[in-house]
């Protein structure tokens, strides 16, 4: 009974490590399979368009609303202490350090990650990956690498855009609607936000999220069972795993960056 339980746990553990190792090797191969510039660059640009540019709308709209909500909530609390001029500081630090990278990454996982998984999974099920291999082209170089790099490049940019729009949204609500004095809104923000500590740490976070989300997305697609059900499951797994990874990684990174460890 106990032996059985142990062996079951062991088998699960081995299976987990096996998948982890496979996906690690997979990442390694696509990372070090940077295609030559002449052929690779157009592929990369195309992917940056579909992964990054097409995600802009959802990122911008969400950023705007999150910034507006933050300003509204923050104002209500700050005004109780008569310190509503600190609104700029509150909103910008929240967005740059946490909400920008995290929410942008979650949206990115839902919008671009799931699309990547589904696209690659369908390529697998329609034998396009197999036919690439038979033509003598490594799908890791041709299909996976440009998508991976596009995700890694786009994620920090999207997060910065998210935060910027969020701050603008906050100023719309805070300054233009609720009447916080615009001089103190912006001056407070300028005083308290450090470029390296806040802005760059946020960018580093989103870079890490970009790597993890795209890695999970392309691997799930490549590893999916090539049936309609399998692709559906792989897409779900991408969103679930990526979201969990983002949130837990965020805790670790926050502890390292701002936890004075």
């Amino acid at each position: 009974m106990i032996i059985q339980l142990l062996s079951r746990v062991g088998a699960k553990g081995i299976a987990f490590l096996d998948t982890f190792g496979t996906s690690g090797l997979f990442l390694f191969h696509s990372l070090f399979a940077w295609p030559n510039v002449r052929n690779g660059f157009p592929l990369l640009v195309k992917q940056i368009y579909s992964v990054g540019v097409l995600s802009l709308v959802i990122i911008m709209v969400s950023g705007l609303f999150i910034g507006m909500v933050l300003a509204l909530q923050g104002y209500n609390i700050l005004t109780r202490y008569g310190s509503e001029q600190a609104l700029g500081q509150l909103v910008s630090l929240t967005l740059l350090r946490e909400l920008g990278p995290v929410v942008a990454a979650l949206l990115f996982a839902g919008r671009a990650g799931s699309a990547l998984t589904a696209e690659i999974g369908l390529m697998k099920s329609t034998e396009q990956l197999a036919s690439l291999e038979m033509i003598g082209v490594d799908p890791l170089r041709r299909i996976i690498a440009p998508r991976f790099w596009a995700g890694v490049i786009c994620m920090p940019i999207l997060a910065v855009i998210f935060s910027s729009i969020g701050i603008w949204g906050a100023s719309l609500v805070g300054v233009d609607w609720l009447g916080v004095y615009s001089g103190s809104f912006w001056a407070n923000m300028q005083d308290s936000v450090e470029f390296v500590d806040d802005v760059m740490n946020g960018v580093i976070k989103s870079l890490a999220f970009g790597i993890v989300v795209t890695w999970i997305a392309v691997f799930q697609g490549y590893d999916s069972v090539p049936t309609s059900e399998g692709i559906g499951r792989a897409t779900t797994r991408t969103v679930v795993y990526a979201s969990l990874a983002i949130l837990s990684l965020d805790f670790i990174l926050t502890a390292l960056m701002f936890g004075d460890l």
């Binding site: 329609t126 034998e127 396009q128 197999a130 036919s131 690439l132 291999e133 038979m134 033509i135 003598g136 082209v137 490594d138």
Partner: protein
Amino acid sequence: MSDSNNNFIEVRDLTFYRGERVIYQNVSLDIPRGKITAIMGPSGTGKTTLLRLIGGQLKPDSGTITVDGQNIPELPRKELFELRSRMGMLFQSGALFTDISVFENVAFPLRVHSQLPEEMIRDVVLMKLHAVGLRGARDLMPSELSGGMARRVALARAIALDPDLVMYDEPFTGQDPVAMGVVVQLIRLLNDALGHTCIIVSHDVEETASIADFIYVIADGEVIGQGTPDEVLHSDSPRLKQFIQGLPDGPVPFHFPARDLSDDLLAGVK
């Protein structure tokens, strides 16, 4: 038979399992150079699997597969991809790249493996598409093609580089009688003109027998018959006879392995 110069592909003692199911058990066969060899057999016997094993997409559990003197399962990735650039394969589903046009699909292998100028690529692609009767469809996207048309485009793509080995997986399925005749002729013509080695996987007995030089019939994980089309068509082996004549009853099972029908029905719902 074992003269390696005359055989482009030699398969020796091939064993392959898919999960628990035995697909091949100690199979050996030779594909002669410059000839059309047909692999026939009932569906589900792993004919496509054999092509994938030859292409190195699957690894056998044991045995060797030698293509032009190189043992595929042990070939390093780089050499394997080089060797594959000399192979063309027509997939059962066509497997066209859905994000690029018919023209670009056929041009793809040329762009990857040759340094030809754009002008020449255009000429080659149009010639290949003309051969399969789809020159006028060059600007369509794969999603706009019927199944048979897609397969003909895939055929044009498979032969775009004039490879040394062309593997056709079910080239006749889904073709109307006219296109069927053209495809059969085309395969024969290409082989006569270019002298490349062909493998045709099919279960269309008549069409395949009309163009093949040599036929292997595979069933139950082993070779049950081999020879020239004439020998195979007039063989006395009961298993071969049943397959060739399409008889429902005989030693080749029509049913997937299962217990007795009456037992199964009487067992009821658990």
